[in-house]
Amino acid sequence: MQNNTYILFPSHTDGLSLEKLLKEKKIKYTIVPTPRQLSKCCGISIKINPNDKEKVEELLIKNPNIKIEGIYTLEKKTKKFFV
């Protein structure tokens, strides 16, 4: 079973600030539309490898100006639309 970890933000600017940090620290990430299981509001979240979760949490503690709404880990599953 594979998992993905998602970081949610109160605003897209927080997300973009974290993106900058992740880029600097060379931590792999993808900006994604927030999964519906996590929030009903459209908007961005950042997907990371669950193994990097602790590293990212440390980064967030060191940079308290970046606000987040939570970090969640979900089972990876892709729905196939074209069959």
């Binding site: 900006i31 994604v32 927030t34 999964p35 519906r36 509001c41 908007g43 709404e69 892709t78």
Partner: protein, 431 residues
């Protein structure tokens, strides 16, 4: 998580129905886009734009309106953005690429017209497209009969200005198109209360040209032997170019191109070697219509170029800059726009030349001629295009399809067989 619901409510949207639309997007985008391997890092920006497609950008349009600016919604690459932006208005491409809106469209339209028209009208009357809801004025054109008559229906919801695009390219047609651009200018000045001066128009011409040049730079990277970016991703970028903030879009796309050019230097590609290279030609693909690209790239092919309105027709040829007088500037606009080779013209031999030229420029192996169901101009034009391509020895296959996913299996079989054929040809030539 930013809450845009208040904003949507203020735009008089159907929140409940809109929520159903939002529900599909993350999973659909995951399946089509995020599942791709080795995507360029720079694609994160476009992931961002798509995630905020009904959020941040709508907020920006709202801010612009709060400051007294106007928003114009457009449908077609013939509408000169330069005029809109020179009056400090914002032009945005409108929704029309999803099956989601078709049932609402069919409430007021016959079933046997193209899905793009049905979806656009459906998006408006269902109140689920915030771009439609943000528009102070719509701008239509006369590129096909279906759209021409649909404007009359849309006009009941939002005022619409229709530009009468000539259907031939004779001298008097040029004069007529120039007059149409002038009429449009008057209309935009009246709506915005801003006077379009030589300086403003020249600045707008330069700005839109910069957007065209960066798209051309992006497409140039697709001529490389090892494709640094998938066709699907390139299509997404062109689609986003229609409504994103111009300066930001240009900057981010330049950054992406830097990355792609580095990839080419290093020989990094996103497809296995010997993946057939496909030129797609035909009708426009509005967000989130990624169907044909997705089917091609999951059936063993790669898309290297689009000869479509969401492809080269959108950005090839720039408008001559630094003309001194308004009249000369409008002449330059007339020339650039009337040079687009749309199937609404008769004859339209320029398009055949374009297809053959692009096939060679992008080193393609075959052509997929894609038309939306019931698009008469493009489906009729297939015969002439096929004859010309046969003469050149260029393999071509026609795929006619709408937005539904039910014919995916059948299309995939045809695509796979086409690619098997292209590979066989290639190895026969190699011998």
């Amino acid at each position: 998580m930013a809450d845009y619901r208040e904003l949507w409510k203020s735009l008089d949207m159907d929140l409940e129905k809109h929520d159903k639309l939002c529900e599909v997007l993350p999973e659909f985008y995951e399946d089509v886009y995020l599942s791709q391997k080795n995507r360029p890092e720079g694609m994160n920006y476009y992931n961002f734009v798509i995630s905020e497609v009904h959020g941040l950008r709508i907020k920006e349009l709202d801010d612009h309106k709060q400051n007294g600016g106007k928003v114009l919604g457009t449908f077609c690459v013939f509408v000169p953005d330069e005029i809109i932006f020179s009056a400090d208005a914002i032009g945005v491409g409108l929704c029309g690429g999803s099956d989601f809106w078709v049932p609402d469209g069919e409430k007021v339209l016959p079933r046997n017209i193209c899905p793009l028209i049905k979806a656009s009208v459906g998006a408006k009357i269902s109140g689920t497209c915030p771009y439609f809801q943000s528009a102070d004025m719509l701008v239509g054109e006369t590129t096909c009969d279906g759209k021409k008559k649909a404007w009359e229906i849309l006009n009941d919801y939002t005022p619409i200005h229709v530009m009468d695009l000539p259907q031939m390219k004779r001298e008097n047609d040029k004069k007529h198109w120039k007059d149409e651009i002038k009429l449009f200018m008057d209309k935009v000045e009246e709506l915005t209360g801003n006077k379009i001066t030589e300086e403003r128009l020249n600045n707008a011409i330069k700005l839109i040209n910069r957007k065209r040049r960066v798209l051309q730079r992006l497409y140039n990277t697709r001529k490389a032997d090892k494709l640094p970016i998938s066709g699907k991703d390139a299509l997404l970028i062109t689609q986003i170019a229609f409504y994103d903030d111009l300066e930001r879009f240009i900057q981010k796309t330049e950054e992406l191109c830097d990355e792609l050019e580095r990839r080419i230097e290093k020989g990094v590609g996103v497809f296995p070697e010997n993946t057939p290279r496909i030129l797609v030609t035909g009708t426009p693909m509005a967000i989130p219509n990624w169907k044909i690209h997705h089917l091609i790239e999951t059936s063993g092919g790669s898309v290297v170029c689009e000869e479509t309105c969401t492809g080269t027709r959108y950005f090839e040829n720039t408008v001559k800059e630094n003309n001194k007088t308004l009249d000369e500037q409008i002449d330059a606009l007339t020339d650039r726009y009337l040079n687009i080779n749309c199937a609404c013209f008769t004859p339209n031999e320029g398009r055949i030349d374009d297809i053959i030229r692009l096939y060679k420029e992008y080193n393609a192996d075959g052509v997929i001629y894609n038309t939306l169901s019931f698009c008469h101009t493009y489906s009729v034009e297939y015969k002439k295009v096929k004859e010309a391509l046969d003469k050149e020895g260029i393999p071509v296959m026609m795929i006619e399809s709408d937005y539904s996913l039910q014919d995916s299996g059948q299309i995939k079989t045809r695509l796979e067989a086409f690619f098997e054929m292209l590979k066989e040809r290639k190895s026969a030539y190699a011998k």
